[in-house]
Amino acid sequence: MITDSPFPPATRATSRRGRWPRKHARRLIFPLVLLTFATFVAGAQAHTVTASTACSSATGNSVTFYWSNFANPAGTGNGGRNTPTWKIAYTPMGGATTTTTGNVSFPLNSDSLTVAIPARAGRVVASSAWTSSQTTDGNSSSYSNNLTIPNCAAQPTIVTTASPGIATGGTIEDQAVLTGANSPTGTITFHLYAQSDTTCSTVLSTGTTTVNGNGSYASPVVTENTAGNYQWTATYSGDANNAAAADSCGQPAEQVAVSVVVAPVSVLTTPVSVPVSSVSSATVTRPCLASPAQLTGVIGKVRNSLSAHLTGVGVKSVTFYLDGRKLVTVTKPSHGRFSITINATRLSYGAHRLVAKATLRNGSCARISRAGTFVRVRAAAVLPVFAG
């Protein structure tokens, strides 16, 4: 049973009056008399609305709302002169608010109304009021409060995916997709742990993202300088309409490896001749790149814009080509990435090839090239042409 107490603090204080010093009690007497008088005159009888615990079923449930503490107005009785009305309003998930009303007759000090609530209805808003038709006392009373039925909250799911593995010094992040929530607000909190931390007890990094609707949310970017295996967790806080959701520790999709920077044999080392006068032997090698060059953000579908990034420690500048046409040369990396954003709205629908050619700081090294194909697609809001 969920109860929202309508009693004002002053009323509750009276029950503890005996423990108070006498002078305090005296100070309360006059205000209490005034309050009682005012209540009698205005007929503002305090009544309560409570609700049975509900929505334990995934297929819907009934919530019984109880109206109680109706006071029998002075000078009134049966006969239709008083027809207090009540109403209950509830908002099912994604739907419009529905209001149900009814009447009660005096003498009465409690009554109830059972309302069928759809499964996972979300926030339940209940209010009630009664009014008297008799003019001699002018009694009326109203009570309004929001009753949240916990188990009626929508049960969202959160699906998470960690960013690809990196070399030390690179950045990692997590992505969480929140679905099934009813106009969610709140936050998604991302935690980074060591993969060996099987209980996810020692947080290495934390970030929070504000939620505004179902959708995809990214964690703050973390620069990781220590090699090792890591894992993310993501937790949705929930709100009045939605239960909390989280992925558990040790999810496979949340693992990310940060590897030691190694110069790959194939492309990272190039022989460099050193004058004999300075070095006794003829040749030494030094890396062209301190980390592998990766082009990211290219592969996949694109509707309006595309952001591609080339990473690689040791890169001096990157020239991007789209379908063989030179677009731009980027000389200043941002967060270690040479990036380009392409307005795709003028591109034809279909496949396009983006090539990134990198010039390395080691001038004796050849340029390297990375490429990817993306597909510009139409909007996904269409009239289907299926078999039907």
């Binding site: 194939s266 809001a381 039907g388």
Partner: protein, 260 residues
């Protein structure tokens, strides 16, 4: 010095027992970094299943318009060609589900066994792994039972997480049985026939060859919910609009579909 492709790297890791499944969904992307070369690679096994669990599947975007062949060889019969856009003309990105990879010891080339969304239903073929982008992982399985007229979505652990009655193809225009996958997720506009949402599958209606879009079997809502459950359609799978709305949030591109 030759550089191994990400696909070769993935294959090598799989052969030593830490395959894509064991590493998890981040594996494909994690392996996009070049790895030290390993000439001669390995010997056996030559074919690696990308997943040994029905709840874990992989798909990829094409990278080039390569020929798909009946066997992992350039000399094998061509069974199709990689496309970048779906064949239904809706302008969506084509994807291909991948079931296994094979490294040809003689050439070192890695091939991927993929499903082709084309007629006849169930067509599969091999394409060079380098012709595909990184593999994406997807969890779950959607089962359409034509005898009980019910669709059930299972999660990666085999637990049913959603179920609803369906409408299937009428006897003269049956919904095909087989193993398919989710090709497109669409918001249906322009009429109430398809309800609010629709999925395109890799399945084709057996007899509707001249249908607009080629007769793709869709999963969609309806403006005739009273016909569900039943067999009122031309081969598509119809759901009540409330059910298709829920499924829209649960079902991801690339998810396998079993129609039995």
């Amino acid at each position: 010095m030759p550089r191994l492709s990400i696909h070769t790297a993935r294959w090598l890791l799989a052969t030593v027992g830490i395959g894509a499944l064991a590493i998890g969904p981040g594996a494909a992307a994690a392996l996009s970094a070049p790895v030290p070369s390993a000439p001669g690679a390995t010997s056996a096994p030559s074919v690696i299943a990308l997943s040994n669990s029905p709840g874990v599947s992989y798909w990829a975007y094409p990278q080039v318009g390569a020929t798909v062949r009946a066997a992992p060889s350039v000399h094998a019969r061509a069974v199709g060609r990689l496309r970048f856009l779906t064949a239904d003309g809706l302008g969506q990105a084509q994807i291909y589900t991948a079931s296994r990879e094979e490294r040809v010891p003689k050439t070192g080339v890695v091939w991927t066994d993929i499903s082709l969304p084309q007629r006849p239903n169930g067509t599969t073929g091999w394409v060079r792994a380098s012709a595909l982008g990184p593999l994406h992982v997807v969890y779950g399985l959607l089962v359409i039972d034509r005898s009980t007229l019910r669709a059930t979505l299972y999660n990666r652990n085999g637990h049913a997480i959603w179920s609803a009655p369906v409408g299937i193809g009428r006897p003269s225009l049956p919904t095909p049985a087989g193993h398919f996958y989710v090709l497109e997720k669409l918001r249906a506009i322009g009429g109430a026939t398809y309800g609010p949402f629709a999925f395109a599958t890799s399945a084709y209606a057996p007899t509707l060859t001249d249908w607009p879009g080629g007769g793709v079997v869709g999963i969609h809502g309806t403006n005739q919910p009273q016909l569900i459950p039943g067999d009122p359609s031309h081969g598509c799978i119809r759901l009540r609009n409330g059910d298709i709305t829920t499924l829209w949030h649960l079902l991801k591109i690339g998810t396998p579909i079993d129609i039995s």
